[in-house]
């Protein structure tokens, strides 16, 4: 292979001791940005496109991107069932934007035939803010992550329209719409901490991965 513009090592700055094995679903989207954040935080990061790669990780991030494309590729390449089983089995999974859509039990405004993996007891509406002209960035108060507000970037993002009994909202916009949720080992955000230098969601997620390994 010739020189690759994206070939920066995934484990730059990796500490000597190997961290938990965390995969990033790499079918489409900004998976490299997640991989860089996780590697910085000390995780042993790998990209996941095949069932055997999924079997080798202790936690998974589903990145931002186009949820309809991820769904289609996951089904075509035999990853949908293993992903569902892993989620049911308690694998910690963090989804951003398209990843939140993939984790939602119910998706509104999906394309015809689009499926989600499920796991989060929520109803999520795709492209809830409209076109790219309505994409925005703002600060969110998220008490679970401390006093400092989280700077959040929404890119044609989804919102959580209703939160079921099993899930807990973590963040809301000023108008009350829910944009971050958690349920056991699952975490989902409408926005993209991976592109703003905000690491607290990833740290929070790695906490779930480590707790499950210890437990």
């Amino acid at each position: 292979m010739t020189t690759n513009l994206r070939s920066e090592s995934l484990d730059a700055g990796h500490p000597a001791e190997a961290g938990p094995r965390v995969g990033v679903l790499a079918l489409q989207g900004d998976f490299r940005e997640h991989a860089h954040v996780l590697a910085k935080l000390g995780a042993d990061v790998s990209l996941v496109r095949r069932p055997e790669e999924l079997a080798a990780v202790d936690g998974l991030v589903i990145p931002g991107g186009e949820s309809s494309v991820m769904d289609k590729l996951a089904r075509t390449f035999g990853l949908q069932e293993p992903l569902k089983r892993a989620i049911e089995g308690g694998l910690p999974v963090y989804g951003t934007c398209a990843g939140l859509i993939m984790l939602a039990d119910t998706v509104l405004d999906a394309i015809a035939g689009q499926q989600s993996l499920g796991g989060l007891d929520v109803v999520v509406r795709r492209n809830a803010f409209g076109s790219q002209n309505q994409s925005f960035e703002t600060d969110l108060a998220i008490p679970a992550l401390g006093d400092r507000p989280v700077h959040a970037v929404f890119i044609r993002g989804p919102v959580v329209e209703s939160v079921g009994a099993a899930a807990t909202p973590l963040a809301t916009l000023d108008d009350g719409r829910v944009v971050a949720v958690e349920q056991g080992n699952l975490l989902g955000t409408s926005f993209h901490p991976e592109i703003t230098g905000e690491h607290r969601f990833h740290e929070y997620f790695l906490g779930k991965v480590l707790a499950r390994l210890d437990g």
Binding site: L5, A26, D30, E33, E66, L73, A110, I111, D174, I195
Partner: protein
């Protein structure tokens, strides 16, 4: 709480980040847009004629009819891009008013200004622009482009120019990485690009925005090669809807783009796709018909 901010660089560049690893397809009707979305396109480019037809029919090529763009936006839920002529800032204003997700200031259309490109900072909607080399890419970024696509030679089905342009940009980045700071001042002068952007590329080893490849991609193997050469994703123009079986070819190009480094997948998806677009060898094109040379 801060006031929510739209149209920031981060928001504009962010959408391109989310398109990475994906395929953006040219479509000329809502029906084609539906086929593209069903096949796994991450976005569609709405236009009246694909580049191969612009090439064969000749004449002045302009922004598409707003009715067509509206109909395509209504048909799909993935992002919709549309093209404005180079320098035609009013076409861009119209596209922003139509609420497209990305504006392509494109050499595929007839240029409206042979000196100036559009001041893209003046818009809330992000822009993608073509480039054949690093200097051109950085000039477009300096003007506000939030995404770059290497140009290739659109409407030919000949991938050689796309190869040339992505290799050129990669090799020019590699040269910058090896330079000392004093050499970078001269490099900025020679690239005809702002020093700050040249320094940023030298330090990070990549463009400050997402880089897709376009122009002449016609097969799954073409798409996979562009990805192996360092593209963040692929535009396919005439290659899909000028082929014998657009549905199958579109889905195959999507799969080959994701599994670009796995020849067994590329082989599997390349089977039984029917006729590829006919194609024109770029070397047979007279210089005035080479679209990649538009842009300054």
């Amino acid at each position: 709480m801060t006031v929510p901010e739209t149209g920031s660089s981060r928001v504009k560049r962010g959408l391109a980040e989310m398109l990475k690893g994906g395929v953006i397809m040219d479509v000329v009707t809502p029906e084609q847009a539906r086929i593209a979305e069903d096949a796994g396109a991450v976005a569609v480019m709405a236009l009246e004629r694909v580049p191969a037809d612009i090439r064969s029919q000749g004449g002045v090529a302009r922004m598409s009819d707003p009715d067509l763009i509206d109909a395509i936006i209504a048909e799909v839920s993935i992002p919709v891009m549309a093209k404005a002529r180079i320098g035609h800032f009013v076409e861009a204003q119209v596209l922003q008013a139509l609420d497209v997700d990305y504006i392509d200031e494109s050499e595929v259309l007839s240029p409206a200004d042979y000196v100036n490109h559009i001041d893209k900072w003046a818009f809330n909607t992000p822009f993608v622009c073509g480039a054949t080399n690093l200097g051109e890419a950085l000039r477009r970024i300096n003007e506000g482009a939030a995404m770059i696509r290497s140009k290739g030679e659109a409407g030919t089905g000949d991938v050689s120019e796309a190869t040339k342009h992505i290799r050129k940009i990669s090799s020019e980045i590699n040269v910058l990485r090896s330079m000392t700071k004093d050499e970078l001042y001269v490099a900025a002068k020679e690239l005809q690009a702002p020093y700050e952007l040249v320094l940023e590329v030298a330090e990070t080893g990549k463009l400050p925005v997402v880089l897709f490849v376009a122009g002449g991609v016609a097969t799954p193997a073409d798409a996979a090669m562009m990805m192996q050469l360092g593209a963040d994703g692929v535009f396919v123009g005439s290659g899909i809807f000028k082929s014998g079986n657009p549905e199958a070819r579109a889905a195959a190009v999507v799969k080959a783009t994701t599994f670009y480094d796995d020849p067994s997948v590329v082989a599997a998806v390349s089977r039984g796709l029917g006729e590829a677009m006919v194609g024109i060898n770029v070397s047979d094109l007279a210089a005035p018909h080479r679209l990649a040379e538009r842009g300054w």
